[in-house]
Symmetry: C2
Subunit: 641 residues, 2 copies
């Protein structure tokens, strides 16, 4: 699907003409250029665009493209003067930490404590800045918890801006080429994560376009860790036009860097939190694999390649990602930045949504997943808890069980280990504990965070707009950020970890990994499993084949590999499973999600669940809502149109 | 799936050693070589092999390969002397017409009237020839009706023997390479002919191998004539390892030459009659398209390429066609050489049969299609007449209706037009008419053959072993070949055709095409449609969109394109449809075919039928034999294992 450069130029020439026709006379356009899915207009008079927000809105509507206006490099104010101007315009409470000028794009990236004050009502402050300095201001939040990950990501992207600009231009030309295919059809190929949990990956294809949706790794399998990326439908991998990620968990995004090792050179679309969390989890995956001496499918250079190729989209932004495909991401309620990916194919031809992992219930962190779309013909839905008996208690039941279990353990002088994914469950549990202590339901107790939990939490604090309304109110209007509570203590060294294990103090330990298949939680388990006063609390799904699942099943003697030797440890501590904290919808929530969906899809595909559960959920849907339901196998292709 | 030459050589070295170990000591082996699926042993002492048929049988069993022994070129007798020897050894009634010597293979191709007499009991005569002349004799039948097609094919293959030898060596090395894939799975992708009739094509794939089964053209469609050959599963097309053809009709083999235009360079497996009929029909397809000014997807050079790449297999010959796939063709009863293709995958891992088109009833020409296999897990079955009301009368009912309709037409001084496929229905009707006249049920009436019917009939006479037992008896033991009856008169010129149309004589006209979408039958229709004394008899399936279907539905005014102008013709002649001559099984036959199948497949896929009929047949199978039944759409992939 290569595009000759002149094709792009012809389209751009035409677009420049249409831009000039669509704006008030007297505003000059120097040139126009594609940048990923956006059309960038360069002008010597950015103020005139900035003065009237309608100009760009109308152009975008006319051209059916996302429009960005940038100053012609000629009109940019000197950076030193510009920063003075910015600080003059933005109220002091905005807390401007830093500003990075990019002469190639004419953009200045402003890092502020309160981005809202830099943006102003309806973007008024941003436009004023723009009018005064020529540069286009972009604002990002300075994370209130310092995040080295976000810092590294931002500085890497700045360092790579040249090749990234070239990349975005290339992607833009490809997206905006004229469609050439004669046939009309739409297919979905299951590459992984069907009739199983792990290695999620679908291919959505039309005669014109191939889109990979998720590219996960099955961390709980030795043999089948990867989606079927070698089959002809996805090879050579550079024939893929775009990768879309529903969220950052390894079972959905863990093998994205591998695509670049195999020669992929195209865009990855994800929300900003997904981008950052993805990098965090991928680097951690490499790190754990290297410590365990397991095979590492890619290195950190490939993680950086993936990052460099990521184009972020916020919820609700309708975006062209191919000549015949528009993508919109919607809140999925599962983890920070998690999305339902909605694809509009052709001109009103077909619409399909991939849920990724969804939570159809309001939680302490997130709003329930979106199930209203402008149009929808087909739905691909997860079924982790789709089995006939997969009912979960409500969140409030789960919360009181967690509180009482912790209380009981503290009363008998024990410690609580909670294995948790760094991303998602950890923050849920943190908020529950902070809330319980703040409201007096639980006596203050130290909560140790080990693994990447603090780093992941810092990323949460950088994107409060991705949290639910309650939390946003608490943070923005009451100035109370529960993540910053001093209940939480980071464990940042091996000696500190040993100290926590050996102390007599009662405490809660939140540590990764969530399924006891590696990570620092293993050391806590080994150190604390022999004492009956202690408690191990499972708050998340334990996949078949993991140690977590075995202990959950009641295994009392566990072979334990450590530093190359295998020992047997005896499980004497109390083991408690608290359902209801899952980031996944239970059977009822899944069913209600589909029932209340507007519009109703005419075809439903089920994935992401053990085979039996997928089949049971399919039967339920067939009976209760009488739709066509398909439970594809990996390697199968279903035709939608 | 390229193979380094040394891989092949290593395997050959090893095989030579195993051959030497497996034969009585004292027999020398000069070298061994692959030739397509066969292993060829070159020896200076072919007589020693020839003296004892068990040596080769045991070797074949040991090595699990098909074995051919050829003389080392050093020991070949001079061709002139050799032919004298052959004529001395073979009884005169054998009727040796010609002999072609091929020094590269050490083979002599003997064309004889009665190949059985050249072969002798259990091959005794062949072995005697071999012992006496060094050359390996191969025998082909001199067709009793002269067939220019067969003559051309044979002479073309002789002329191309060098490149064909190289091709066979290459194919052999690829087939006998060591399997390398780690995964185990089997998939079937529908490329065409699913939920429709026309452009039949499936891809059968494993991690190791991709096999295309049929590659038909939809002659009754303007837009969707071709299977989806451009999708990634089959492109680039040179990634396909083998093409297997169930039979020669255009809707199954019409686009095989196109594969070579697209870069395919591998083998086509088919029965000998399928090879010859395929060439006949493909050349005719080009010819008709060029006359009609339609788009011609390939030229005759591509037809020759396809021919050059064809490896013939007789019914029942179990043949390696890939490191992990063995193919066996079985009688399908549909047309001459038609086959059910049975694939054995892996070492006992999985078995699947593709029926192609089948007739599960004894006809005047063929035995009923085979439904017993050593093993079978999945069945792909046609459903042309799978609809709920698709019951057909028996053959004898059909025969008497045909006789009475012809009688009635003759009595009122009319002519009978029977549109028919050149291959299949024509010969069925010829045999019925000859039989009726011979037995006195019908007065002798001239039967004009127009289009390629005579040529197709000649090919039938060249392969009597592909006809049913009754016909073989008649031909071999009673010396009566019904195809040679002088009832049949070939129309071989435009003026002759006009003469037939304009004469007052009553007659039967058998002319192509079978669905009134082109061919000489159009001229007969145009010339004879106005006269109510005449009769148009449909004896075959009329696809949706064809003129045949329209007239069958009762259209009385037909737009008729001729020499670039469109005129309207009025249909006044009687239109009669006689069901029961179809080469397809009716609903009951299809159902019985599956019911009586041994062993019973656990999964059934349905293709080759209008959508409604496929779905109805699927429902019937689900209810009556309670199997898993899938009705794939084109572009869908079903996973079998």
């Amino acid at each position: 699907m290569g595009v000759a450069p002149d094709v792009g130029s012809d389209i751009l020439k035409d677009l420049k003409k249409r831009v000039e026709e669509g704006i008030p006379s007297g505003i000059s356009v120097s040139f126009v250029e594609f940048e990923g899915p956006e059309l960038v207009i360069y002008t010597e008079e950015p103020k005139k665009f900035a003065d009237n927000g309608d100009i760009i809105r109308n152009l975008a509507k006319d051209l059916r493209k996302r429009i960005v206006v940038r100053p012609d490099p000629k009109v940019l104010v000197d950076p030193e003067k510009a920063i003075e101007e910015i600080k003059r315009i933005v109220p002091e409470e905005g807390g401007i930490n830093d500003a990075y000028f990019d002469p190639d794009t004419g953009e200045v990236l402003i890092e502020a404590d309160k981005p809202g004050l830099v943006i102003g009502k309806y973007g008024e402050t941003l436009r004023e800045i723009s009018r005064n300095i020529g540069w286009t201001p972009k604002v990002v939040r300075a994370p209130p918890l310092p995040s080295s990950m976000i810092k590294n990501i931002r500085s890497y992207l700045r360092a790579e801006k040249d090749s990234r600009k070239e990349f975005l231009r290339r992607v833009g030309q490809k997206i905006h080429r004229e469609p050439t295919a004669r046939d009309q059809w739409i297919r979905v190929t299951a590459l992984g994560g069907c009739r199983e949990v792990g290695r999620s990956s679908f291919l959505l294809s039309t005669p014109e376009t191939r889109i990979l949706i998720d590219c996960g790794v099955n961390v709980s399998s030795d043999n089948n860790i990867s989606p079927y990326l070698y089959i002809p439908e996805v090879s050579p991998i550079d024939q893929i036009d775009a990768v879309v990620l529903t969220h950052a968990h390894l079972d959905h995004a863990g093998l994205v860097p591998l695509l670049f090792k195999y020669g992929y050179d195209g865009p990855i679309y994800a929300t900003p939190p997904t981008r950052d969390l993805m990098v965090l989890l991928q680097l951690d995956y490499i790190d754990i694999a290297s410590k365990e001496g397991s095979k590492i499918p890619y290195n950190s250079a490939m993680v950086r390649e993936a990052l460099k190729h990521t184009i972020v989209l916020n919820y609700g932004e309708v975006t062209d990602i191919a000549p015949d495909v528009k993508l919109t991401l919607h809140n999925a309620g599962h983890i920070l930045g998690s999305a339902v990916a909605h694809f509009h194919i052709g001109q009103g031809m077909y619409n399909i949504a991939f849920t990724g992992d969804i939570k159809y219930e309001r939680t302490l962190l997130f709003d329930p997943t979106v199930n209203t779309f402008p149009r929808l013909e087909a739905l691909v839905i997860e079924a982790t808890y789709g089995g006939n008996r997969d009912f979960q208690p409500s969140r409030s039941e789960a919360e009181s069980k967690l509180q009482s279990t912790i209380k009981k353990t503290i009363e008998r002088g024990g410690k609580v280990i909670i294995p948790a994914f760094a991303v998602g469950r950890s923050q849920e549990v943190m908020i529950v504990l902070e809330n319980a202590v703040r409201k007096g339901a639980l006596d203050p107790v130290p909560v140790y965070l080990d693994g990447m939990i603090l780093e992941a939490t810092a990323i949460h604090t950088a994107y409060p707009e991705y949290l639910n309304q309650n939390l946003r109110n608490l943070i923005f209007h009451k100035g109370l950020n529960p993540f910053l509570s001093d209940l939480f203590i980071q464990v940042d060294s091996v000696s500190k970890r040993q100290e926590v294990i050996q102390s007599e103090e009662s405490c809660v330990i939140l540590a990764t990994s969530g399924m006891l298949n590696g990570g620092p939680v293993m050391e806590y388990l080994r150190g604390l499993c022999h004492d009956e006063r202690n408690t191990l609390i499972f708050v998340g799904y334990q996949a078949e084949g993991t140690l977590g699942r075995r202990i959950q099943k009641g295994w009392k003697e566990i072979p334990f590999s450590r530093e190359g030797r295998t020992e047997t440890i005896k499980i004497r501590l109390e083991v408690v499973t608290i359902d209801g904290f899952s980031g996944h919808s239970d059977r009822n929530q899944l069913l209600n999600y589909v029932r209340r969906m507007r519009p109703q899809p005419s075809k439903i595909l089920i994935n992401h669940g053990e085979e039996r559960k997928c089949l049971e959920f399919a039967n339920t849907l067939r009976k209760k809502i009488r739709r066509e339901v398909v439970v594809p196998k990996n390697l199968e292709t279903v035709r939608l149109l």
